[in-house]
Point group: C2
Chain length 673, copies 2
């Protein structure tokens, strides 16, 4: 099977730039506010063949160039033009395809009996040794163009139409990323569309984030087809559409929306006797899928950008939902950009660290050493770039233009921040492990890690408070949850200390609570790691259940139960600045799958895996979780104290009480629990 090929990583760089330029706010485009990495415009692809008979094949490219046969015996070179039928004589040949593309991505598609473009080809940008080509299962057809993704389209109708304040309000049930299509009854009308993730926002025509007054001509945000009397807008995310000038839909014509997405397999399932928990799982699944396309993006209305911190959490959730390998690879490559590194990912230092850790996570998830090999040079450059900003203690410090983020929380930011050092240490561990996996020298990183770990404890551990403080330079001895959560999660404290941290910090109401689902994730994982599964379940029900109680049909970027009314939708000083469909809101997928159903791989790529369900907490439930990118899964249900479990692949163990039982393949076993 032939595939489109390109210089490894360039498709993702191109698409990531496209994605990061695709934000709209109040009639303006809002490109991401960071340096955008470029792709190679001039490359060549090559592969060596040995042909018993002459081989005819077709060549298509995006761009311009020529091909070359290099006879490996005589070194004679023969050029050829790209055509539907090119013939290479019998013999040993290297086929070279030179493609340049000023405005876009140079790529090629060769198809013949023995000659097919695929992963066996190499690519060069005329610097150094050739690298592997990149491919995508999305681009297997000759008539495709890797710059244009073939999305899945689904026409959706409003679930409810309501007359409000003299206008019409359409409710599509939950957020969608869609083009609005209006088929006018009586020809073009300069109608205004006021969008909203919330009803409040859509009805606030003055201040809504996304609003569009259609223009019959030269409309930068849509297009009117005079012949068909149909206007199609650009892609936008919304749950509600309000048409303030239209009192009856029938007067305008037909409004429907074209929901655009990439489809991911529906593998994971979860339902519980606890309907709220079932609903939380379903809304999490919807939220994650809406934020999953070429890349894991942060949110559908805002920012529509690829953020490494958000993506890092999606990589975990993905394992417990659709287990897609390519979206992880695309997101990693799109985030990282070109080989040279000039700025932290999305400008955030911790996000660079998460990217590094993600490579280890990728390996543990998919056990694909080939991909890890292909990104190793980029991994190393990013690690080295980060270490350039470390001081004599090994602490990473903020450079001009760097953003030490961690979370939306009040940190004591003077000098090095404790949580950031924890994340650096964890990234160094990933760097060491991945380097060793590829037989690369890791000594420099091991030494840095050792020094850093020692100095974290020396400088940030407060013996009086028995906790890590944010800053030692400020002398304020300020404690937040974040560094302490990381210390537990990364195993940087022994069990006794960890237990103390749970009591003194995590369960301490005097330490400001976490307000983002983003950091709730890590906090709950720390509780789970310490055996407080009850706490995890309670938080899921209270915090995510709290959003449901506030009418959420997708999970939010930020949730403060104390906020009421319109204030719930505000953020960043913007009345509707909060994203109401935000990937990092979907972490119950992970928390339920990993800790309540209790599935984890015990070897890379789930060669072996283990399930330890929290039966007492869950009660009756049904669960199905993926085990591989090729559709394997494990399924279990509990009803009336009988547990049934089976898997499609070997290597599984289920732990119930003190028992460890092998999970049979394609054959259910039951046990009384």
């Amino acid at each position: 099977m032939a595939k489109w090929i390109w210089y490894h990583g360039d498709f993702e760089i191109y698409q990531a730039m496209k994605q990061n330029l695709d934000r709209e706010e109040r009639g303006m485009k809002w490109p991401a506010y960071w340096y955008t990495s470029g792709w190679n415009h001039n490359v060549f692809f090559s592969r060596t063949f040995s042909f018993a008979t002459p081989q005819t094949f077709s060549v298509r490219v995006q761009g311009e160039g020529y091909g070359k046969f290099v006879d490996l015996d005589s070194q004679k070179e023969t050029k050829f033009a790209f055509a539907a039928a090119v013939t290479c004589p019998a013999g040993k040949y290297r086929i070279e395809i030179y493609v340049a593309n000023l405005a876009g991505l140079p790529c090629a598609y060769l198809d013949g009996q023995q000659v097919q473009s695929d992963e066996n080809w190499q690519a060069s940008n005329f610097l150094g040794e050739p690298v592997s080509v990149g491919t995508s299962s999305l681009f297997r057809q000759a008539d495709q163009n890797p710059m244009e993704v073939d999305y899945h389209h689904e026409i959706r109708q409003p679930q409810k139409i309501e007359s409000v304040n003299g206008g019409v309000l359409l409710d599509f049930g939950h957020d969608l990323t869609a083009r609005t299509r209006i088929k006018f009854k009586n020809g073009f009308q300069q109608v205004t569309i006021s969008y909203g993730e919330s009803r409040t926002e859509a009805l606030d025509v003055q201040d809504t984030y996304l609003k569009h007054t259609l223009q019959a001509q030269d409309d930068p945000f849509g297009h009117y087809d005079t012949q068909k009397a149909v206007f199609v807008t650009k892609l936008r995310a919304f749950r509600y559409i309000y048409l303030p000038q239209i009192s009856k839909m029938e007067d305008l014509g037909i409004l429907e929306v074209d929901f655009e997405s990439l489809e991911f397999p529906r593998i994971a399932k979860f339902s519980s006797h606890d309907e709220q928990l079932t609903k939380i799982w379903q809304v999490s699944d919807r939220t994650l899928r809406l934020c999953s396309g070429i890349f894991f993006i942060d949110g559908v209305k805002r920012d529509r950008w690829v953020w490494a911190g958000d993506a890092f959490q999606c990589f975990y959730m993905n394992r417990y939902d659709f287990f897609d390998k390519e979206i992880v690879e695309r997101t990693l490559l799109g985030l990282r950009g070109e080989l040279d590194i000039k700025q932290h990912l999305d400008t955030i230092v911790d996000y660079s660290m998460y990217w590094i850790i993600s490579i280890e996570l990728y390996y543990d998830t998919f056990a694909d050493k080939h991909f890890v090999q292909n990104v190793y040079a980029k991994l190393k450059r990013l690690m080295d770039f980060s270490l350039e900003a470390t001081d004599e203690h090994g602490f990473i410090r903020e450079r001009k233009g760097d953003w030490i983020y961690i979370d939306w929380a009040d940190f004591d930011h003077q000098g090095p921040l404790a949580a950031e050092q924890m994340v650096l240490a964890r990234a160094l561990q990933s760097m060491v492990r991945v380097s060793k996996l590829l037989n690369q020298d890791a000594q420099k990183y091991e030494r840095h890690y050792q020094k850093l770990r020692e100095n974290i404890d020396r400088y940030f551990w407060d013996p009086t408070q028995q906790a890590y403080i944010d800053s030692y330079e400020s002398k304020k001895r300020h404690v937040t949850r974040h560094a302490n959560i990381f210390a537990i999660l990364f195993g940087y404290v022994d069990d006794a200390k960890a237990k103390q941290l749970v009591q003194r910090v995590l369960m301490n109401p005097e330490i400001p609570e976490i307000k983002t689902p983003y950091f709730k994730f890590w906090e709950q994982e720390a509780f789970a790691k310490m055996g407080h599964y009850d706490q995890v379940l309670a938080t899921i029900k209270a915090y995510w259940g709290g959003m449901l109680n506030n009418g959420a049909t997708t999970f939010w970027e930020y949730f403060d139960p104390a906020e009421k009314g319109a204030a719930r939708y505000a953020m960043y000083g913007d009345k509707y600045g909060k994203s109401l469909c935000h990937a990092w809101g979907a972490s119950p997928l992970y928390l339920i799958g990993r800790y309540l159903i209790g599935l984890k791989p015990t070897q890379p790529g789930y060669q072996t895996f283990e399930i330890k369900p929290q039966l007492e907490l869950l009660g009756d439930f049904q669960g199905k979780l993926p085990l591989s990118a090729s559709g394997d899964y494990v399924e279990l249900h509990v009803k009336d104290n009988v547990l049934t479990v089976q898997a499609t692949k070997a290597g599984g163990i289920i732990r119930v009480g003190q028992q460890k039982i092998a999970i049979p393949v394609e054959k259910a076993i039951t046990m009384t629990v």
Copy 2:
């Protein structure tokens, strides 16, 4: 006057990529075989203003984005959409324009009473401190697009039409870069156009470099307009067109060509009683102009690429012909690419060195410190990148992928090459001078230069042969002209040694002679420097005159008087691989202007200048040479032993015999000579 603005250097990177992808050969596109630097796709422009009254202005961009007013007192930010009329309140504001462009060059044009985009704005790519914006006098209109250059067009008819071998041969007199336009008499005909820089090539339909069989549909090299029955081809360079299938032009219709160029001022003039010398000057001028557009390119048929060595010589010729400042800036920026340097310019080490020297030459020519400041970071990176490949003696060595070129000649390439070290030393001198000019630390470069100069003499000077040898590692003690020419030119030998080198090397028929006009340039300059003006004149007449005798109407890439017939057009193993209109063939412009008419600046920017005409050699002549980019010139003529001279600007001295006379402004003086 408003101008389009972009991130400094990006317009040139974009256009250079376009240029370097614009080569065609036998029905195939041939992109340059090196790494192509990318431009920034996401930038913002900013400038601070103080407005007494509200200011309204228009904003146009190539790309998408938004604008922002930042109130400098309150720091309050207000966003605005790009529109024909945007109003900023009175007060102190920073105006910011955010523009991203996935496929092209992000740039902006603002026009109002006080708000106008121009050189006073800054640009940022979100890395480090903002830089100056770039502008071009070619883009001053709002309705322009800096990605598309508005070329000058001129329809040309064949000067001669001839029936040959059953077809029709059209001669346009000399090479042109033009689109062929056929207005068919009886509708579309699938005619074949065989192009040639020589008559021989055009008639060789089988093997010609550029041939095009027109297709009515989907023709990648041209377009047929059914309604007008007109086919217009892409741009190609040729002197001849042969239509093998057409016995009479009348049967086909009308063929004319649309000659596309940028126009440069016609300042320099030269005519002599010696008609051959006059002709050489005219053909040189034509050759240089044909190779001058957005950039100085090497040749019009081939490669159509921007090569730093060729451009370096053009920078010298430009001073004695049209004295255009912007083409030099564009060429420097296009060659150099993005700030990071990954490969030597055009892959050639010596070409990187010439680029460095060119910055000094630029300053001496135009005295524009601002431009030098703007490229200093790129200059320094290139110098440092080059020095990374130097050894303990300071010698630069070939790394994998580097090309040590110097000239098409047989060098003894084992280990460091002498001529390359000379060029490195000269580049270090430029680096030191430019650094000091900008008050930058130059010590590192000074030390390297000193060590290198000492080691060049220690390792490459052969006391027996009294000459520099190519290689000391090979022990072959091989002498070529090149290093010895550089030693004279750069003043790396004292006068006595230089005189010896002229005798032992330059005038030694046993040392293989120079075959390229490229190195003839430096050789003649060395002769001139040593006072052998007679030799310079003789070579101009013999070598360039030799090309004229071979029917040249533009000067060639390579000329070996021994080659006869079709062999004259072959190069690189290609029957028609030799470029017959090659910029480096135009150096008589410089040699005549600089050494025979004898003009040179004696202070940067020609603040003072001197003319020392070789009156005995020239006899009666008229000459006019530019003195500045704003049209200043000096004019002199000699007739019947009376010399008349005048200039449009002060600062000039003319030397005649032992006399030094100030050249009057706008008023001729005459003297008997």
